[in-house]
Symmetry: C2
Subunit: 257 residues, 2 copies
Amino acid sequence: MPPSPVPLPALGLIGFGAFGRLVATHLAPLVSLRIHDPFVSDTAFAEAGFAPCGLAEAAACPVVILATPVATLAALVRDIGPHLCPGALVLDVGSVKVEPARIMRAGLPPGVDIVATHPLFGPQSARDGLHGLKIAVCPVRGGRARRVGAFLRRAFGLTVILTTPEAHDREAAAVQGLTHLIAKVLVAMEPLPTRMTTRSFDLVMQAVGMVRHDAPEVYHAIERANPYAAEVRRRFFDLAAQMDGALSEAETACVEG
Amino acid sequence: MPPSPVPLPALGLIGFGAFGRLVATHLAPLVSLRIHDPFVSDTAFAEAGFAPCGLAEAAACPVVILATPVATLAALVRDIGPHLCPGALVLDVGSVKVEPARIMRAGLPPGVDIVATHPLFGPQSARDGLHGLKIAVCPVRGGRARRVGAFLRRAFGLTVILTTPEAHDREAAAVQGLTHLIAKVLVAMEPLPTRMTTRSFDLVMQAVGMVRHDAPEVYHAIERANPYAAEVRRRFFDLAAQMDGALSEAETACVEG
């Protein structure tokens, strides 16, 4: 391949877990990646076809993506602060948005723009490509959220949902909170039937298959770091208990063959 | 269309609800139907393109399909007894099999063969045709279950699972019990998000959509008439409570940002 006539813009990616790798794979043709993850070995980097760099080098890029667990974001924001360039754009990709937006707004230097994102997909659902998948994009500081959205639409065919951290977390509490909760319970009930199944059960189990290998950090972010998740769980359990009560009562009342 | 050279064999269908109509639509080209349902008006029959007949006429056919709610099966078996021909074959299509098999074995005259079936689909999943859909077939009396299975495979492309009422109900308690329980709770939680959704949530809601309009009798048969359903619900609720407990504990323990 002939060398690119214009040098590719540098992009820092901090975090090379399952989602970081997905980001790297899709951005590699478009930018010159500087990837940092102290928890991933050089061998694992090499196997994935990438090379690691230091934190300072990744953080000094004009655009920096933070792809680490939500629980470690505050410490990371503290660590990268001194290395960020004025006018840089920092994005995160966590499953919740209220808490990360607050952490980044409070912790990142004033001259840095911030866009909080949540790609509503994981490595499983992105297996057949990114086209048509959804991503939530929240402006946090500076006016670059719309341009980020336009880029994601154009470059990857993503469906971009421009929203606020609060609106995002409210919807995600139901969407992801319920899916992960149901999946967790069904996985714990295994082995479940695979032969005598209905189409609707197959769909539920397909959904379970898509989230069952998610990192524990994802489950914890969804169920704990989302301020609305506990309320959604409460409603789910209350309604389930009502159904159960109604069925038990009916069992006692109805002795018909 | 020229008249059929050989007269079609007569088949009695008792019960013209949602599933009875599906049976009628698919069998109409192959047999001469005698349909009875005292709860469906002549107008509704006409609108569906069929004509009703009396119970005796339907029950006197060489093959009789019972497509009524499980809760009314004992009374129906009593009523059709005097009209059945010796050597007739009686089939049911209920969502559970232990109780219907017992009722039919105990109540139908000795000279009548019995096959209990459970089509693992409803009008929703059969919208695009029957090919590849599953049906459980249980021999109850006489040796005609395999021939029934062969016919269903050949005529409709159904995947036939030859099994026993007990094995069926054990698997169905998980498959249908869990799907309907989850669907019932999620429907009660509506409105749920439709915009900011993940692929896995979309699959779960697609499953909900397939069972949400099922007749209440179907839900009751699945959750109450299945002897193993209560035990499956118990496990689901116990595990869900454990998850909830673990998350609440963790919430108290983890104050990390």
